[in-house]
Amino acid sequence: MKSKIDQSVIRKLVSLSMVVIMVAVFSATAQSFLTSRNIFSVLREVSVIGLLSIGVTFVIIGGGIDISTGAIMAVSAMICSRLVNMTLMPIWLIVCIAVGAGILCGLINGLLVTKLKMSELITTFATMFIYRGIVYMLAFRDEDGRLITKAITDKGFLTIAGKWGNFYPMTLVWIAAVVIGYLLLKKTKLGTYIYAIGTDRKAALFSGIKVDRIKIATFIISGICAATAGVLLVAWQASVALSSGSGMEFQAIAAAVVGGIALAGGRGDTIGTAIGSIFMVMLINGIYKYGLPTEIQTITYGVVIVIMSVFDSIYFRALNKRNQVTKRAVGRKGEAS
């Protein structure tokens, strides 16, 4: 029997109430915000960013960071676009190949980090460029070799991003990812190990956990999510821009931070990330409804990240104040011996 509510629940209520307040403010002041059409279109947008965010959540909880997700998404989208336009492969096979590419990209990230002992930031910073380069390699060109974009006309493929009334079923893919992600984190051995390596790598090692494998797994999960997001994106937009997805890796990380995923690792879950994703997309949508310029959106993004990070550090410090003295004493002892 738990006497007090879990701190992670409180943290989620905080971000959830932020969403509620924002919805209230926007629907009272901005026209056409609280219409089913707008809400569903927001949710469609959430599903792309949200998927990236779910993926990167795993990496962050495992104590790492992944900034190659936007590029992986573009690779997957470009593969789809190529295969749909140039082959007669069945759709399911195309999707599998695209997701397979995501797995491969994630595996490469994971291997570089664990086997070559590179830092996560540097690794994914580098692979971000490499994967983006692959997007250029795969892109369509005209006879003179100039890069062109080519729209997908295949009706079958475009139904992935179809419509049921005002609702876009691709939102369900994201919801499924949130649920599966949650179960993976909370109900499986892998999930426990991800928290363990993200909190204290050495302690996890001492408990007999194969830390490298778990780390690679987090990058693969991130790759799968990003590739899936790529499939949705290309089906929705019907074409791939060369720069598509660039910048989204950071929006995805921002959504995770707003949702209570500690960048230091070991804290948070996909429900939090989902709330964070909704918050971020709605914020942009609402600002857009006011007719404010893009710079305001960008600045707001940054400001929200700062506020939430500060909130987390203050909140967390207050929470642990009682334990701090003893903790420090232990730390000292550890150093001395």
Binding site: K2, K187, A329, K333
Partner: protein
Amino acid sequence: MNTLLQMIGIEKSFSGVKVLKGVDFTVGEGEIHGLMGENGAGKSTLIKILTGVYPGNSGVIRMNGKEIFINSRSDAMANGISVIYQELSLIPTLTVMENIFLGQELTFGKVFLKKKEMHRRAEQLIEKCRFDIKPDDLVETLCVAKRQTVEIMKSLLLNAKLIIMDEPTASLNAAESENLFKIIRNLKSQGTSIVYISHRLEEIYAMVDRLTILRDGAVVGVLPREQIDPVTVVRMMIGKCLDCAEHTVHDAASEAAVLEVTNLCSETLLDHVSFRAYGGQILGIGGLVGSGRSEVLRSIFGLDHYTEGSIRYNGEALPRSAREVSRYGIGLVPEDRRNEGLIPLLNIVENMALPNYDQLYETAFVSGKRERQLGMRGIESLSIRPGDPNIRCINLSGGNQQKVVISKWLQRKDLKVLLVDEPTAGIDVGAKAEIYEIMRRLANQGCIVIVVTSDVEELIKIADQILIMVDGKVFQQMRNENLTQDDILLAASRIKRKEPDHAN
């Protein structure tokens, strides 16, 4: 009593230096076996060989008479040997249950956790050991003592037959320690053997069935319970009789500088701490880890925030930022010298120059020549070895690192106060003596020297005035005259009688 563990003729060398010279070590079934020895006597090396951290060079290890080979931690675990680290192997963000089962979860088909089953088993285990925790408690919300019980349960779940505890009470208060002893006796009664490593004599007398004493990598004695007495043990450990007579107390001159701390309070720990330290004297602060000793030093140096009280040097209030305090002529030699005392990747000269750049300017730029001169002066005056100013500090021995840290403050011409936290932790005997000498020399020059130390012997040896802290308060201040280790230990643990049920 049946023999559980037998280690015979264990030898180990590090780069040609013999650290263990044929050690024999046996532990009986259900025995609490103490292991004592000075720093560097080889205790931790022996334990690391037993737990697979290092391979031994030669020797045989037997469990229940059968020879075993331990090459990794998992080999040790598989043979029922486990170590309780302070908090190393716990994951604070996970629950008690998740921690106990970490690495050995019960699962459906290797993937999904059997949470209910694990919960039930954890509860059973807690009940069996009569621990005061719940399976769903987050480890980060538990105090150190309770975290230790989680560690113990983790070992028990692995069916550990032998649990090694390395200084388990170092960060516990008296009541918590008492509780731990109960747990240990309870384990013993259930047939588990314990190897108990401690520096605290009184715990050893109270707890162990047998005691093995190491000195310089060799066993100097195995004493059964009846033969354990303080004088014998100390004599065996040190290898000579303690001479406490040669110490002379230095009294402060009437015109000496004075550092006055009045009613110092901090948000979390310090509770109206007041004392005076005088130039020409070494003030030693003793007490248990966590009693607020380091916090006092950190507050004086402007690192820790204090909510109440004042700190004055000759009547003048000290600034509250570390930068200004150090410019004022006050230096801190922190306990964690590798992380806080110096920048490991910088060389000796650069490290010494760090707090002294204000003295090294020539026009607008730092003078490389002066910086080098300063470094050489430091190296020579404290005979730091190797005397190469370009060597990175990470490559120095502990003793020489400590000399660099001290030396960077000695280079300040206006040094008024030197605060030293655990000056000789992890430092060999030779360097120890040199560091004592440096501090004494400094005091003789009229400086105020304040030393925090857990080593009671050291405290008696070097301090003129001794201050004992308990639970963030000054418990007692004494002139170091005819004091014995018992006096200090008594003062440091008088809490036992004062607060019998201070469990959390």
